[in-house]
């Protein structure tokens, strides 16, 4: 009866550890080593195996905790910058309005993403929104191109939209973000890409656990003039006196370029904050998960240990009783 119970115990412990499709070497070695034990049904898996597993899970927990702390400190550094830059795009939206539904021939979608992974789902969200915008703005005579900032979006978009990718920039966060760098980048993009409307897709940082996918639209000077004549949100633009510069179109050109660089600066800062925040919560849930796994493994370890002690005792006692009787 005790033997049957032990056999059942052994199979119960071994069952979660025997994976029909072992993925990593640790698991496959576990499977092979304890399969012979459970077939006998007498001795269950050795405590060594469980101890090794616990050690690796504990290391993973330490690593993810450290990554969370690093992300938290990086977030603190960049959050004040992002908050301070929020006033930068508001005058442009106040002047030129917000026109995401504008109908133009040449759309360029600027997707901002991170270079490193392990940051939750924000990059996938940005890519989904970019694809959605692409679909929304596709049509006869209309073309829609991508400009990608960051490795992660590039990896995802290259798979199905390779011919639509105009430019890709990576390794933007090697140095802390500052306006000069973004201005140079914006200049690069504006020089190399023909556009009527630029749609910037990024994750706005609302709080440490909330990131809202957002899209800002920057129109080219010709489209601004066209929309101003057509009326609607930009209709009041004609009532503004244009001072400085030589002609109205030059000033509008400078205005568009300035708007693009300001909006890009804010978008990149917000996305960087969102990345760090998402990494914090991803690493936090990973550490918690590792902690749970460690608890379960500790229970398994104790059960295994007690089972092996009981087995030894039974052997001794049955040996002794066999000698007597």
């Amino acid at each position: 009866m005790a033997m049957a119970a032990l056999r059942r115990e052994g199979r119960r412990i071994a069952a979660p550890l025997i994976n029909p499709h072992p993925i990593n070497p640790l698991r496959s070695s576990l499977a092979s080593s304890d399969r012979e034990h459970t077939l006998l049904g007498v001795r269950s898996i050795s405590t060594q195996v469980v101890r090794n597993r616990m050690k690796s899970v504990r290391n993973i927990q330490k690593i993810t905790k450290a990554m969370k702390m690093v992300a938290a400190s990086k977030l603190r550094a960049i959050q004040t910058k992002a908050e301070n830059s929020r006033g930068l795009w508001q005058p442009f939206t106040a002047l030129l309005g917000d026109t995401p539904s504008v109908d133009v021939k040449k759309n360029v979608i600027v997707t901002i993403s991170s270079d490193k992974g392990l940051c939750g789902g924000i990059n996938s969200t940005s890519v989904k929104i970019s694809r959605g915008l692409h679909k929304l703005n596709a049509g006869p005579e209309k073309e829609c191109k991508y400009v990608i900032l960051g490795e992660k979006a590039k990896a995802q978009l290259v798979r199905d939209s390779k011919k639509d990718i105009e430019l890709a920039f990576t390794e933007l966060q090697k140095n802390p973000l500052n306006y000069t760098q973004v201005a140079v980048l914006a200049d690069d993009i504006l020089k190399n890409v023909e556009y009527d409307a630029l749609r910037i897709v990024f994750n706005k940082f609302q709080s440490v656990v909330a990131f809202v996918p957002t899209t800002s639209t920057v129109l080219s000077p010709e489209v601004v003039e066209r929309e101003a004549e057509a009326g609607g949100k930009l209709g009041e633009l004609d009532s503004y006196e244009i001072e400085g510069g030589e002609t109205k179109s030059e000033v509008l050109q400078n205005l568009t370029e300035f708007q693009f660089s300001c909006v890009m600066f804010n978008a990149m800062l917000e996305n960087a904050c969102s990345e760090q925040g998402a990494r914090m919560s991803a690493m936090d849930s990973s550490s918690r998960n590792a902690g749970d796994m460690l608890d379960r493994l500790t229970l398994t370890y104790n059960r295994t240990r007690q089972a092996s002690i009981t087995t030894e005792l039974i052997e001794i006692i049955s040996g002794a009783s066999a000698l007597e009787g």
């Binding site: 005058p91 917000d98 001072e243 918690r288």
Partner: protein, 203 residues
Amino acid sequence: MLRQAPRFLLRRASAAAMRWSRPFSTDLPAETAGDSKFVDAWKKLIPNIDPPKTPSAYMAPRPPTPSTIPSKLTVNLVLPYDSVLSAKEVDMVIVPAATGQMGVLPGHVATITELKPGILSVHEGNDITKYFLSGGFAFVHANSIADIIAIEATPVDRIDQNLVQKGLAEFQQKLHSASTDVEKAEAQIGIDVYSALNAALTG
């Protein structure tokens, strides 16, 4: 795990409370009717994903043009890394427009102007605050709100005379030794900025 849950919730709640006790002054969740066309078009084509938000959702709508001229001008001076003045009520501002110093009073006609490096002076009653701007744009709206967007703005008393002289000499040297158009343009920009700084200190 259940034991840790209340501790975890408390930690999250306190973190959230810490965040929300400092509301973002430039963030206001106001949904405007202008994006409804975009939202509808999105929902028709891509029903499974929520449409992205647009900047107007994060901005308080500006007040309409009043019928009488208001007594004060509302000024916003923003830089990439800071909002120096936000919604400050003043009597007058003098901006360094590309065509010369331009004074803006409440009720000024709506204007878009490029700025060149120079001094911005903000007049509030009897106080005059002067900032040296490196350039940018200024919008004056019909509702007596002035938005000034510059790359750098420093109070004039923080500028060092010696460094200005040195910088001016250096860029003049660069202009003489410049060979390509790009170098000449860069040197010229440097000279413009430093001469404006010089004028700011002396004038």
